[in-house]
Each structure stands twice: as C-alpha cells, then as structure tokens.
Symmetry: C2
C-alpha cells in the first residue's frame, strides 16, 4: 500500500453508540454499516460484543452481511471478552479483534485496582489469545497519553511480541495537545523500533476541541490509521469527526501529502443517516456537515463568492455530496420512479418493503408538493424502525388552545394486536399525548428528552421528533417522521416505549443467562 | 501585564451574528454584551457599524452601557466605515476601531478588484484615520494565511508605522494547519520586528476542524490575543469557540503556561444565553458546553468515575458553572424569591419589568411543579424580546388528529391594537397555525426554518421554538418559549413576522437616507 495512505477506522457504532441516549437496534446498525461501506471506510468497529446480547447480535450481523471493510469487535484484555468478540466477527471476510487495557497509573490503581506487572501479563495473554482466533489484532493501551511512556512502551513491546498488527494510542480523556501527542508517539517509536513494522493508530477525543488537530499531529508523527466517528459522536465531547479528518487530508493533500480511500461524496448522506438514527443533531456551525458549513452570510463574503468562488470557499459542497440532491418526486410519481430514486440513494427495496415505502410515499406526497431526496431518506430510514415496533399508534385527536388545557385521546395497538384507548389532559399537547399513550398502554414511562427537527426546509417540511424516555429504570430512544409534529412526537414516543420494553426483556433474559462477566 | 496573559477578544456579536438566520435586536445584543462583561472577556467586538443602522445603534448602546471590556467596532479600510465605527464606539470608556483589508492576491484581484499598491495606500490611510479618533486601533490583513507573507509583512509595517496597536492575522477561510499558521506568524515576526512591540492576535475559522488548535499554535508562536465566539458561531463553520480556547488554556495551564481573565463559572450560562437568543443549538457532543461534555455512558467509564473522578474527567463541571444550578422555585414562591433568584442569575429586574416577569413566572409555575434556574433564564430572555414586538398573539385553537387535516383559528393583535382573526386547514398543526397567522395579518410570509428544543428535561419541560421566515425577500428569526410547543411555535412565528416587518421598514428608511456607501 502507498506509504502515505491513511486507514480510516470508523467507531461510530462502538464509541459513538456509547453516547448517552443512543440505542440503535440491529437493523439500524446494519444500515449504518452498509452506508459506511459505501463511504469507503477501511475498518468498521461494529461494537463491544460482550457488553450485551444486542451488541453481540449486531456485530455478528454486520460481520456476516457487510462486505469490503475489516469488521472489528472490541474486547477488554480478558479471555471471555476476546472469545465473545472472536465469535461475533468470525463470519466476516476480514475479521479483527481490538483488545485494550489501561497503562496509566491513575487507571491501573483506581479503575483496574491492579498493578503494572498484572497489566503486562494481561496484555500478553490477551493478544496471544486474540491471535489464536484471527490474524488481525489491534491493541490499545487505554489512557496512554496520561501514562508513563516507558511503561507504555514495555506493554506495546509485549503486544508486538505476541503478534498485534495494529497499535492504537488513545487520548482517552481528550487531554493532549498536538505537540505533546506527536512527542509521545515519537518517543514510542524510539523506545519500540518494532512499531515501524505495524500500523500505528490514533484515537483522539474532543474534550478540549483538539481531536482533529491531535489526529493530524499523530499522522504527521507516523500513524497511518485514524479512529474517528461520523459527526464526531462518542463518549463526552466525542471522537475526532471522520468528515473533518477526511476533508482536512483531502483539501490540504498537496501540502500534507496523505490520502484516504473515502468516497467523499457519501459524507453528507452518511452524516444525515447517523444523525437521524441516533437522534443526535448536528449543529449548524459544525465543520463540513453543519447546515452553514457552505453558507455565506455577510455582504462582503457573498459579494466575494459571486465574483470568484474561491475567495471564501476552500471546498466545494458537491465534493461531500451536499448538492446534486435535486431529485424530486411528486404525487404523480409511480412505483418505478420511487424504486429508481431509492436505488440512486443506495437503498435496494423490492417486494413488500417497496410496497410499504410506496404507500408511505403516497401519503406524504398527498400532503407535500415536492418530495425530495432528503425526504425519501427520512421516510425509508423511518421504515427501518418499523419491523421491530411492538406498539402501533392507531389514531389520535388533540385539542390545543391557549384558552384551556390541551386534551388528547389515543388508540394504540399492543404487540398482541389489541387496540387500547387512553386519554389525558396535560400541560401542553405533547405532554397530553405522551400521557395519553401511557394511559392506553398502562405504562408509567417518564419523558427524559424531546426534540423536533425539520428534515427539509420550507412551509411543508417533514418534522422529525426524537424522544428519550425512562421505563422502570431503563432509558430508550425513539424517532418519528411526519408533516405533523404532534404525530411525529406520538410515533417517536410509541417507538421509544417499544424499545424500552424490549430492553427490559433483554435484561431479564441476560440476568437469567448470566452472560456478563465481572468487570 | 503578565507576558503570558492572553487577551480574549469576543466576536460573538460581529462574526457570530453574521451566521445565516441570526438577527439579534439591540436589547438582545446588549444583554449578551452585559453577560460577556460578567464572563470577563477583555474585548467585545460589538458589530460592524456601517453595515446597517441597527448594527450602528447596537454598537453605540453597548459602548455606552457596558463597562469593563474594550468595545470594538469593525470597519473596512475606507473613511466612511471608520468614521461610522468611531461614532459608534465614541462613548465607550475603552473604544477600539478594528479595520481590515485583504492582502491575498485572490482577494485583491477578485474581491477588491484592486492592486497591491492600492491596498498599501488604503491600509495606511485607514489606520491613520482610525488613530485620529481613538488610540486603540486594530488592523487585520484579511485572508492573510493565503497571502504572500512578504507582501503581508509590508502592509503590517505600514499599519504599525501609522500607529496600529493590535495586529490580527485572520485565517479567514479556515485553511491553515497549526504548523503552517505558527510558521506564518514566526515569519512575520522575522520580517517585521516591530510586531514584538504590539499585541499579535489570532482569528481562526473551523472549516477543517482546526480553529482551536490553530489559535493555540498562534499563541505558542507569540500571539497574545485570541479572537473567538461563544459556541463557536460565525461565518460557515464558525470561529474558534471561546469556551474551548479558555478551558484548554485553563485545564493545561501547568503545561502551557498561559492565563486569561475569564471567570469560567459564567461559561455555561453565557453559552445558553447565546444559543437561546441566536436560535443556534449546541450539539450534545460539543466540547465544554454540549449536553454530554461531562456525561459518562459506558459501564467502564461510569465505573471508573465512581471509583475516582479523575480516571475519566479532566475538568470539573462546576468550573464552567454547569452545576450548582439547584435553585428551584415553585408556585408558592413570591415576588421577593423571584427577584433574588433572578439577581443570582445576573438579571437586575425592578418595577414593571419585575411585575411582568412575576406574572409570567406564575403562569409557568401553575403548569410546572419546579421552575429551575434554566427555566427562569429562558423566561427572562424571552421577555427581553417583548418590548419590540409589534404583533401579539391573543389566542389560538387547533384541532389535531391523524384522522382529518388539522384546523387552526387565531387572533393576533396588530401594532395599532386591532384584533385580527384568521383560520387555516393545513398539513400539520404548526403549518395550520402559521398560515392562520398569515391569514389574520394579511401577510404572505414563507417559513424557512423551524425548530423546537426542550429548555429543561422531564415531562413538563419548557419548549423553545425557533422560526426563520421570509417576507418580501427579507428573512427574519423569532423564538418563543412555552410548555405548549404549538404556543411556542405560534409565538416564535409572530415575533419573526414582527422582526421581518421592522427590517423591511429599516431597509426603506435606509434607502431613503442612502446611508450605505459603495462596497
């Protein structure tokens, strides 16, 4: 491979999915993984198989169905973790096990309540065990940037001796500056010359706003794999944004000299899909994928761009797939037109799935003059959630006024097909309908978060509602799409409720099976 | 001053306010400026006075009423701009004029359609003219990072000869890498030794995700002023985030050695105020001020933090003022309790303003058990918008159902006090009420953007609606807060409509007065 080719390791489905309130089901994770493959990422970290049966199932499904990228599963440096990860990725054409253990004293002492000697032993055993299942093994010394560099070097030497093929240096708490991080990697190269024979990787968090710069500094110091996530999601302030890293390397390629295998024209769509399925919005001023990233507001800037685009633009919106989405359907468009429009968007729908999508499309087209590519994406992504839904919203009526409290009546069909009625007079229409759904389903769910976004602009925009609720200590999220925000909200609530019930069921099953080892 | 003290120059009200869809009125800008003073910024760039009468008025009001920080007005390198800026900041205790002209050939040729010689002449005349009004003059060579460094150095030497006291080096298009940017500043120091005698400043945009890292590289290369904005708002992907720069310098002070004058405990509140008044959301995974910046989701991280906080936390949420907001009022709280709660939040309300706030508080307390500090902030900020409102929403009724199209009826009081009725059957309840408002006011406004956010969590959260609409080619924004999202949406729409009408009126006045010079 070209020595300046940088491997893009996407952790949207692992570190990204660890963000509070995100709970993707297997269908949703598979859809994201397929899109990541279209985007051209080199490695998909698909999950942490031992952490839950759901995570295991998703990693296994992705390993079986997604072709092209390496499929990685995460595992602590413990035999049961590694065995579970090995089982999950086994059916991939290119399986990887990613195992980790902390090398910082603060983690060893407080988190692991262990010793440096034990850490070395665990690292050795873990890498060796992983290599007994797969030839592609990645090892990470967690919290490396706050660890003693000499001790970290010793542990890396052990991992290399046991056959690790990628060594990743995480800035777990987002603490390093670019100079420090590059210095740390440089020192590791000196202490462990064998690092030159494997792929060195960077994994940076954005707590101080430096994730992208630290990743770049790492690449300039010799790393050739960058771990990152779509929209920069992940623990706390998240991981380095895939789209920022990739567009930085692409836009400044002449100066920096690196390349990636990413098809940048898939960036905007991937960003929208991840935002929609996770319920995590992208702020308007987010680099690359924010709504304003390519907008020019001041008179001076607008004037400049009109005279010569490059006066204020260093990237072209078409390179990330933002334009060219001019595909528009209307109420007279037929099944064939819908099918080929969906095909163009990367969705392969046939048979019953196409029929359902067509019915849904017609409903929207009746209410909305132009159905755009982004509307279609939202509808199809919305459909993906349906097959697992256990409650169904049949109908609702809400009276809203500022002259009396809002009253909501709903009918919800339960998983057994029984229609259940509920009503409630609440503080606002959304509050009223949510509580009416609780009353119909006889559930005491509590709303934690609620958000509405417009999918597309204009008067007849589709609204997308996101709900996070808590049921019996279990939090779960749900989304809904409609031209009616009350309907979207009710859909989202019903789905979140269904997700919470499924999670509660899974926890019960898990407790029975005692699948989880001690940490 | 301590040689390692970094001046924080806040451009939220200038570069930040240039973001699409933001239109702050003078009351709102003043409130933000007061909060920036409480935050402890050294310089407030309050606006671009020649750009509109509204901008002029706001800069003048801030110069007169906000004490502590330097108040700067922006001006192109043209006499009328500088005179207008000088007039606007004249009454400040510490006025600054910030003048700029591009030094990159791409800008000189295409944007200015001028020559390098002319640029030098304009820069000389502009700085000299500015110095005839104020002793504190900042000069920026726009698009410097894409300019010839030798030519830029010549222009800077001229600006210094004429008495510029701060020299700012903008990475206008967000193109530079940290190494390049530091190298560019280092070369300027070599070419223009007199730069050592003034304050060098950095102004970085986040197009490639490097704004904070570039600012840090600039400081390490000798700059002692950082231009930044709350929540990183600004043109395109925005400016460096004030909160990220400040917390980077604070968290890594022992290693980096720099200090600022910021009271970090005001960061969270400032971020919320700016988000609310601009209508720009902060994404959950935004560093420092995102909802999740201090959240820990994975079992491993939670376990670690419980055992020892520093295992996964490098900053304490209380240092940015995120916790300690446990102040809660209820329906039995009196006027005195409200007044002292508001005082604690930095709002000084007396007389009629306190009465209005109290009435509003009681309405909410009737519907919501606990009124938190964040609710109060939202209510008071919401009240700030009222005095300029020209239409008022009197009442509304909406029938919402998925079994028939939603029907809305509204009564709106116009600026002359006349009650006007309207009704509409729309695609969704929000669409119906917006069109009913159009029908009542006989206006053909078109919705451009619509968003709903929860102010606080939980079932009885306040909803905040943001609307951007277009009326006769003029776009304007409005926000509304209520426990009822339909009411919040209707409020936001009525306010956006009022703002659009005021803007149209201002444009008419401006055209009559011919205030604007040729660019």
């Amino acid at each position: 491979m070209d020595p300046d080719r940088v491997v893009i390791f996407d952790t949207t489905l692992r570190d990204g999915e660890q963000s509070p309130g995100i709970s993707l089901n297997t269908t949703e994770k598979l859809e994201i993984a397929h899109q990541l493959a279209r985007l051209g990422v080199d490695v998909i970290e698909a999950g942490f198989p031992i952490s839950s049966p759901g995570d295991f199932e998703a990693v296994q499904a992705i390993a079986r169905e997604v072709h092209g990228p390496v499929i990685a599963g995460l595992a602590r440096a413990q035999a049961p973790d590694i065995e579970r990860a090995a089982e999950a990725v086994r059916d991939s054409e290119r399986p990887r096990i990613h195992t980790f253990i902390s090398t910082s004293d603060i983690h060893i002492e407080h988190q692991l309540q262990s010793t440096r000697e034990d850490v070395k032993g665990q690292a050795r055993a873990a890498v060796a065990h992983a290599r007994s299942f797969v030839s592609d093994v990645e090892f990470s010394p967690m919290d490396a940037t706050r660890a003693d560099v000499e001790f970290t070097a010793e542990v890396l030497q052990i991992a290399l001796d046991e056959g690790a093929t990628t060594i990743n240096i995480p800035d777990t708490v987002g603490y390093a500056t670019p100079q420090e991080y590059a210095g740390f990697l440089g020192r590791l190269y000196e202490l462990v010359p064998a690092l030159h024979d494997v792929v060195l990787s960077v994994h940076c968090h954005d707590d101080l706003g430096l994730a992208v710069a630290n990743s770049l500094a790492g690449v300039q110091a010799g790393a050739r794999q960058v771990e990152c996530a779509i929209n920069g999601i992940g623990e706390r302030a998240g991981n380095a944004s895939l789209e920022e890293i990739v567009m930085l390397l692409a836009t400044r390629a002449a100066h920096l000299g690196y390349s990636t295998g990413i098809n940048t024209r898939e960036i905007a769509r991937t960003s929208r899909m991840v935002s929609r399925l996770t319920g995590y919005p992208v702020q308007p001023n987010k680099a690359i994928v924010g709504r304003n990233a390519f907008a020019h507001e001041s008179g001076i800037h607008q004037d400049g761009v009109l005279k010569e685009r490059t006066t204020f633009e260093i990237m072209d919106a078409t390179t990330i797939g933002l334009e060219g989405n001019d595909l528009v359907l209307g109420k007279h468009s037929g099944r064939h037109a819908l099918r080929s429009a969906l095909h163009e968007l990367g969705f392969q729908l046939d048979g019953q799935a196409l029929n359902t999508a067509f019915k849904r499309f017609k409903e929207i087209a009746d209410r909305k003059k132009h159905v755009t590519a982004m509307d279609l994406e939202a509808l199809v992504t919305d459909e993906l959630r349906d097959e697992l839904r256990s409650y169904t919203l049949e109908w609702f009526d809400v009276d809203v006024s500022n002259r009396r409290p809002p009253h909501a009546r709903v009918a919800v069909r339960n998983p057994d097909g029984l229609e259940m009625l509920g009503d409630f007079t609440g503080d606002g229409p959304v509050d009223a309908i949510f509580r009416a759904i609780n009353s119909a389903t006889r559930r005491e769910a509590r709303l934690r978060e609620f958000r509405i976004d417009a999918v597309t602009g204009g008067q007849d925009a589709l609204g997308e509602a996101s709900v996070v609720l808590e049921l019996a200590g279990q939090s779960a999220a749900g989304q809904g799409v409609s031209t009616d925000i009350i309907e979207a909200a009710a859909q989202a609530y019903v789905r979140a409720l269904s997700n919470a019930e499924r999670k509660l069921l899974a926890v019960e099953e898990e407790e029975e099976a005692e699948l989880t080892p001690a940490p």
